[in-house]
C-alpha cells in the first residue's frame, strides 16, 4: 500500500494506537505467523486477536493470506515505514533544536566562566 491520503494516515495511526496491535505488527514483521499461533501469545480470545489483525489489515500494515486451514499474517514493511517516517521527521527536528539549545546554553556558560576568570585575573 502506498500512503497517500490523510484517511490512510488516520487508519495507520489508529491501528497502531493499541499496544496489542503494535506487538502483533512487530512479531509479524520479524516472522510471518498464523492467526492461531498469534492468539496463543495473548491473554485474549482467538476472535479478539482476529479482530486486531483485521484492523491492521484494513490499515495496510499487515497482509493476510489463507494457506490450507491457516490464515497467515505478514507485516507490510513499506506501509509501516511510511507511517513511522512522519513522526521520525518531526522528532529529528526537535532533537536538532534541543542539541542547538544545549550548545547555546553551554557557550554562554563558557563565556561567563571566562569573564569571571578574566575579572579575577585583573584584580
Amino acid at each position: 500500500m502506498v500512503v497517500g491520503s490523510s484517511d490512510d494516515v488516520d487508519r495507520i495511526f489508529g491501528a497502531l494506537a493499541d499496544p496489542t496491535r503494535r506487538d502483533i505488527v512487530s512479531r509479524v514483521l520479524r516472522r510471518e505467523s498464523s492467526v492461531s499461533s498469534l492468539a496463543r501469545g495473548y491473554a485474549m480470545s482467538f476472535a479478539a486477536v482476529q479482530k486486531h489483525v483485521a484492523v491492521l489489515e484494513r490499515a495496510g500494515l499487515v497482509m493476510k493470506e489463507r494457506r490450507g486451514r491457516e490464515q497467515i499474517v505478514r507485516g507490510d514493511v513499506v506501509s509501516i515505514r511510511a507511517a513511522s517516517r512522519l513522526l521520525e521527521e518531526y522528532e529529528e527536528m526537535w532533537r536538532g533544536r534541543i542539541g542547538r539549545i544545549e550548545a547555546l546554553l553551554d557557550d554562554v556558560a563558557d563565556e561567563q566562566a571566562k569573564e569571571m576568570h578574566d575579572d579575577r585575573g585583573q584584580h
Binding site: 494516515v9 495511526f13 518531526y90 529529528e92 542547538r100
Partner: protein, 161 residues
C-alpha cells in the same frame, strides 16, 4: 545528548519531547524570550531563523522568516496563548504568506513548553499538538522538516567537537 524521553500519544496527534539542561529555569527561559537567542536554535544551520517581531505576552504575536540555502524565505508566525515566566509558555506556530499574514492553507501546531527545576538545572517538556494527521503529513511533505533533519549531521559534529 540531553533528550531524556520522547513520546507519541494516541493516534500520533501529540508529540512530547523532554530534555534536561544544567542551567536553571530562569536561564533556559531566555532562549525562548530573547529573540536573538531564539534565532540561534529555532532553525537549523542551513535554514537560520530571523525574528522580526517577538511578543512573549498573552495575545502577543511573533513574526519570523527562515533563510534557505538558495535564498528562499519561508515565513512563520507565533500567536502566544499563555505565558508564566519562567515556568510555562503556550503558543500556536504556523506559516505565513509572503505578505506576513497567516496562511490558512498551511498547518498550525500548538506548542506547550514547561520548565521545571531539576536539581540545579531544568527539565524542559515540549508538547506539540496537531489538529489533524493531515497537517502533520503536510508539514513533512513540504520538505521543510526534511531540510531540517538534513542538518542534523552537522549539529552532531558541532556537539561532538
Amino acid at each position: 545528548m540531553t533528550v531524556v524521553s520522547i513520546e507519541q500519544d494516541k493516534e500520533g496527534l501529540n508529540f512530547t519531547i523532554v530534555a534536561e539542561f544544567s542551567a536553571p529555569p530562569a536561564r533556559v527561559w531566555q532562549i525562548w524570550s530573547d529573540p536573538r537567542q531564539l534565532e540561534h536554535w529555532w532553525g537549523p544551520p542551513t535554514w537560520p531563523a530571523t525574528f522580526e517581531r517577538h511578543e512573549l505576552t498573552p495575545g502577543g504575536s511573533s513574526s519570523y522568516y527562515m533563510t534557505g540555502p538558495e535564498g528562499e524565505k519561508p515565513r512563520g508566525w507565533w500567536k502566544v496563548r499563555s505565558v508564566d515566566e519562567p515556568r510555562s509558555l503556550e503558543f500556536d506556530d504556523g506559516f505565513s504568506t509572503n505578505d506576513g499574514a497567516p496562511d490558512p492553507n498551511m498547518p498550525t501546531i500548538r506548542i506547550r513548553v514547561e520548565l521545571d527545576e531539576h536539581g540545579a538545572g531544568t527539565r524542559m517538556t515540549i508538547r506539540s499538538s496537531f489538529e489533524t494527521l493531515e497537517q502533520m503529513q503536510q508539514l513533512v511533505d513540504m520538505g521543510m522538516v526534511e531540510g531540517m533533519s538534513a542538518a542534523m549531521g552537522q549539529i552532531d559534529d558541532v556537539l561532538a567537537a
